[in-house]
Symmetry: C2
Subunit: 514 residues, 2 copies
Amino acid sequence: MNGAESLVRTLVRGGVDVCFTNPGTSEMHFVAALDKVDGMNCLLCLFEGVVTGAADGYARMAGKPASTLLHLGPGLGNAVANLHNARKADTPMINIVGEHATYHIEHDAPLTADIEGIARPVSHWVKTSRDSRTVAADAAEAIATASAPPGQIATLILPANTAWEDSDGPAEVPAIPRRATIADDAIIAAARVLRSGEPTVLMLAGQALYEGTLNLAGCIAAKTGAGLISQGANARLQRGAGRVAVNRIPFSVDQALEVLAPYRNIILVGAKPPVAFFAYPGKPSRLEAEGCRIHRLCELGEDAEDALARLAEAVGAKPGDAQVQQAFRPDLPKGALTAETIAAVLGNVLPEGAIIADESVSVGRGFFPMTAGTPPHDWLNNMGGSIGLGMPLATGAAVACPDRKVICLEGDGSGMYTLQALWTQARANLDVTTVVLANRSYAILRGELTRVGAENPGRKALDMLDLSRPNLDWVQMANGMGVEAVRVDDCEGFYKAMVAGLAVKGPYLVEVVM
Amino acid sequence: MNGAESLVRTLVRGGVDVCFTNPGTSEMHFVAALDKVDGMNCLLCLFEGVVTGAADGYARMAGKPASTLLHLGPGLGNAVANLHNARKADTPMINIVGEHATYHIEHDAPLTADIEGIARPVSHWVKTSRDSRTVAADAAEAIATASAPPGQIATLILPANTAWEDSDGPAEVPAIPRRATIADDAIIAAARVLRSGEPTVLMLAGQALYEGTLNLAGCIAAKTGAGLISQGANARLQRGAGRVAVNRIPFSVDQALEVLAPYRNIILVGAKPPVAFFAYPGKPSRLEAEGCRIHRLCELGEDAEDALARLAEAVGAKPGDAQVQQAFRPDLPKGALTAETIAAVLGNVLPEGAIIADESVSVGRGFFPMTAGTPPHDWLNNMGGSIGLGMPLATGAAVACPDRKVICLEGDGSGMYTLQALWTQARANLDVTTVVLANRSYAILRGELTRVGAENPGRKALDMLDLSRPNLDWVQMANGMGVEAVRVDDCEGFYKAMVAGLAVKGPYLVEVVM
């Protein structure tokens, strides 16, 4: 058995049974090993940003890492932006990056690059296998590292000769560390704050946004009068009718300051202290009110469920105390498509169990209220702010959950970064309805240009923010990649298209012209 | 004047008057400055791989660097693969990468990343401006660094507050170092080798492949019986009727060994010693014959024209000695489209002054003989081997040379990496005819799978190399980005489509189904 086969067998043995891939020559033995080894589901993506974005979406929904297969330094380079996003979402992921044969590197062939250097800024762990007989053990270490809570990016670099030379077979995967249980001190301190009568908000992230844990937070809130809030973006928020509702800190600094103004205490449950997405002249970086104290109940990788259960007990909150979201569907709107009417249509159509891959950027900031009362669903955001995650994320989520409908809410500017994801959706017949919000501009930047204090922009500047001349035709582009698509320009059309798209068991795209 | 304006004014003063851009919030002051400052031609690209690939194509044809504008670490990440290609082509380039305001970085906002770490593997020079009053001087240093022969990648990181705070105005750009003249020793040594009577080949790269310099090499070859050859890929080769013909070292290791087998001496004129693109089990990394001696006439950044002129004199070669390529057009083929018939059609249609951006990968390896006798043209290759350069490269070349026809020869697999380039071609009405060679597979990898010794690949492996199910429809994708397109499946159709496309003054795409 060669090194590549020992690697694939180790991955499968370690429960890593999905590989998103865009291979090249240096990865051909890995590809060949896929034929020999049962149990690895491989999905070809036509660009590496799709590979890592899909691995992110998969892991968020499957609760375990996918592997990726990338071609040398530049292939990894193309994957960097969505690795950045995955790292910010604390997603577990195992990247296998091909490298030239060890003895070939010194000759500086065209594709020779500093792969470790490219990997390091977006990986928690980077290792180059030096010998075909250590590849399996290296892979086992990668699995354990990636899976360590809350999740890490492990990048294993595989020189071609370590793939084609002999191995000693697959390796055992060490036990994955469990989430640490927090000490009593943190519970006592948080309970004291909650009992103080001072306005307090629990700021939740990660595992704390999953239904059961969130319900514990809801019980605490009901008992103590504390607020609940999440960061501006969440890796996976379980929401909808019957669940505890949590709002996000707004993107706009002024709105965020207003939302957090009442609170004298913020208790972090896996979250980071609240911070502005960007800096603006004359505005603060931190979003809490002056004098507000920041407390930490638990880190993102610690056991938030246990921590909140103990905190609930400490404050005397009981199961069932939590206020949960009532079911409702908004009135079906008519006429022009705006951020508000689009939200209302979505509130009418989101099916039970939907997974929302949300990269709606400027248009989607107000989607939460109108969709709050729809049947239970998962809502996934871009945590790293690098656009081009939405369609890949949806792709991976659909691979993880083939029996659920994935709905991708995608800006047109963002979608153009990784539109190749549509082809993978078509090939694997993934059940994704993509909604492209076609405002034909980087709309967020028009606001930002004003916000940073750049006055009276002229045509030359505005042209850099504008996606028209020519307009993008998403129906043609989707069809060109084998995905059925339709264009709509009013609420009635959008509603009809969504009903049609959701009825299809496979990919479908709706271009919403605003 | 703020830092951003001082930066733009310094760039324009330094002759850097084109900016390929995909900006974000942190770059809004730079965008605003574009309105105020005359003389900077800005082109919006919808993905950063297009930005840097276009800057590469521009610089190869303009002979000076373009600037790029990239959004923070992930935007730079998306640009990495084509920066790798540009670095391998020794292309001058100035990247301006936005960064959070200096005081905001410590808060680890979503887009915070190790920008210097991402830049370093693909840059010769990386600097973060620390103060709005040093931005202009930093930009001047970037211009000088990028322009140092043969060309370098300079990456300037611009924290948002250094863009919006006050500056002292633009800076003077220091003189660009001239190409160094080589010492007499190297001339004498090379002349001795050429006079030895041993089989010798001049291996040419960079400036040595420009018409005038190449002619000097041709004179030397004619006088001494030496061969002429180039690396497998060239940044810019001036070829066609009336010019000295140079063939490339073949991609296949066996063929390359055969081509170089006769030579006892290789004289490097800017080139690197010949090396295999990839390592294969049982095959060598270096391509020269055993016992062949490698001599170096000059480095890539040294003055090859002067070196070859002096060498010609030393061996007694006279101007006019060179054998030049006869003009010819091949017979117009009929019927099925194959690598050979496609080459013959191209040999019939290439217009005078054409710029060929060649990312034809497996299909195009044999395009040279049939196109050798067409009118004088420039042929640009991918020097870094990271696919996804072709269409951006064509885009940039067309910006540099608005009066010449650019022909992009693009593999379908490669083209999918950066297809967003078509939109920029449409917006700027760039005169590019794109030929997509649609073999509907990563055909190169089918060969490679066998070549690395992976036997009898099964469906699961082959699916990773196959671009069908569904087929890509390049006509729809191009139309979706505003580019007129046509699909052809025989020689007659291809010829007609090329004639039509070349008659259009603007972008046009021909999908060649093989």
